[in-house]
Symmetry: C2
Subunit: 323 residues, 2 copies
């Protein structure tokens, strides 16, 4: 591991380090002060896929293009800490998966340092997390989990990160002990846009139909592939004048409900549930969990990502100071 | 209902009636002799969708174009019995769904007779079947079930018709008492062609991986949306030199296995399972059922469709003779 020089003080506006979340389809960067304060931030649509698919782009070029203004011409070795798909096989440099169970330190110690031409920065790319038994992987969410554990050291239970591929991770005693990915977001998008159900999902939303579908998913946990078709059949069998429940609410409840029913089957007594995310999707998960009597208030994902990158930065600094 | 004149005898090669299976994406017709013998057959890609989407096509025009050569110029009122999507709302003429429980006679008596200009034919379009509680619908498969019941009058159990939207119908005492549609075929196609899993499904097939996925689906009946992701994760977490199971076999087994696990949960003691279909897909269902100890030999769907149309023709003839 290359040394990450520790800036004991920074001129106002000059970052002591730079935090980066480099996903599949976008890139976010933050100029960070000494005490985890945000001096500036920027983002770009140049996620891993855009760069991997374009010969003229390089990861370093894209990164420096975005943070150039934050770096003094004579800056040296400003630490850049990156989580996400930049560490994938098709990314900047592969950061091999860390195995569960994993602590914050285990993850930070798995960081890799790609060679960079620009002398002003030194780069650490954090690893993703993998599970060999009941095969599963994540890249990026593990850093949110690190941030969550830092902010909630006594939490024991499941943390939900809704998305295209939703993640549910079991967390206890400062470790991520296991996790499950659900393809709910992608399956919902394919069904509502590309399947026969696209004719049945309108724009009308109906909270009660969503809640009914959430309950039905738990009552018939093995019936997912059948329940989907009722989104279409429900409208076809309705009698004259009979109200037809909102197709998009039933489909959404069927998909999210199937995911949640499976997780609730794994929940041990006394385990808590936490929810990281924002906007409409996080609200739907909150509502779905409430149907089953679980209170989970969505927590802002960005600040948790930054808390995770800050924690990783701290571990890396301590390690370099010991060397 | 218009009278269906009964031809007590037919010159060789002149059909006494015409059987039609008019689906969403194709049309099959058979010239039938008096004793359910096939004199000729033909097919066309002009299914309901092609006709509904083309101003220049009419259902009667397409049908007559295909059977014109079978009809003598002076023929009158040759009965044409049609099953399938021609009876849908967007079809030739809507034949409203018949409710479960339904016998062969119930279905035949729900036939509708569109007006036709060609005096050589008279047309009956058979209804589909619907279930109001646990909403579900079928159009076309109910005629296969009628043919199956005719050929297997003592059967009591579930009949499986694999396909884009697989149907499982419960049959006993000459009636279809209920049924369930599973979107398995369409979900498999979307996931293998349009989802992130498309990168993980190659051409290599592996019977053992398929059987393992069938078993896993029954062991984790609520975990479908998670199990899908292991198709991808399994390859990513494999250690150097470790064999990766065939992605397409795991995906296929995960989808078909989820469907079958759900049906097996509904199977009452002593109920049998029958399988209607042909080719690779029917073989996969046969193999999947065998994993769980159920023997079901695929039966040819075409001859069963014709048996169902023949049965409907008989009921309609008897009814017209009574009038």
């Amino acid at each position: 591991m290359t040394a990450s020089s520790h800036h004991s003080s920074s001129p106002a506006g000059i970052p002591s380090w730079i935090a980066v979340d480099w996903g599949t389809s976008n890139l976010r960067v933050w100029a960070m002060g000494d005490s985890a304060d945000i001096l500036a931030e920027a983002q770009s649509p140049l996620g891993m896929n855009a760069i991997a698919g374009d010969d003229k782009l390089s990861f370093e070029g894209v990164l420096v293009g975005l943070i150039d203004g934050w770096l003094a011409p004579d800056a040296r070795d400003v630490p850049v800490v990156i989580c996400g798909m930049a560490g994938a096989k098709q990314g900047w440099r592969e950061a091999p998966y860390c195995d569960v169970p994993a602590s914050s330190s285990d993850l930070a110690h798995g960081a890799v340092n790609p060679n960079v031409r620009d002398p002003r920065i030194t780069v650490s790319i954090l690893p993703g997390l993998c599970q060999r038994e009941d095969a599963d992987v994540m890249r990026g969410e593990e850093t949110q989990l690190v941030g969550f554990m830092k902010q909630n050291p006594d939490f024991a239970g499941w943390v939900c990160l809704p998305g295209t591929h939703s993640k549910w991770a079991r967390v206890a005693d400062g470790k991520i002990t296991g996790f499950r990915t659900y393809m709910s977001g992608e399956v919902f998008a394919l069904l509502s846009q590309n399947s026969i159900l696209r004719h049945s999902v309108g724009d009308d939303w109906d909270d009660a139909a969503f809640a009914d579908a959430i309950r039905a998913a738990k009552a018939q946990p093995s019936g997912f592939l059948h329940s989907l078709f009722t989104v279409r059949a429900g409208a076809l069998v309705a009698r004259e004048g009979q109200a037809v429940p909102s197709g998009v609410a039933v489909l959404s409840g069927t998909v999210i409900g199937a995911e949640i029913a499976d997780v609730l089957g794994l929940l041990q007594m006394d385990e808590e549930i936490a929810l990281i995310g924002a906007g409409k999707l996080a609200s739907l998960y909150q509502e779905a969990l409430a149907v089953h009597g679980h209170k989970a208030t969505p927590m802002d994902g960005t600040s948790i990502t930054l808390a995770g990158l800050t924690q990783a930065r701290q571990v890396l600094t301590n390690a370099s100071q010991r060397n």
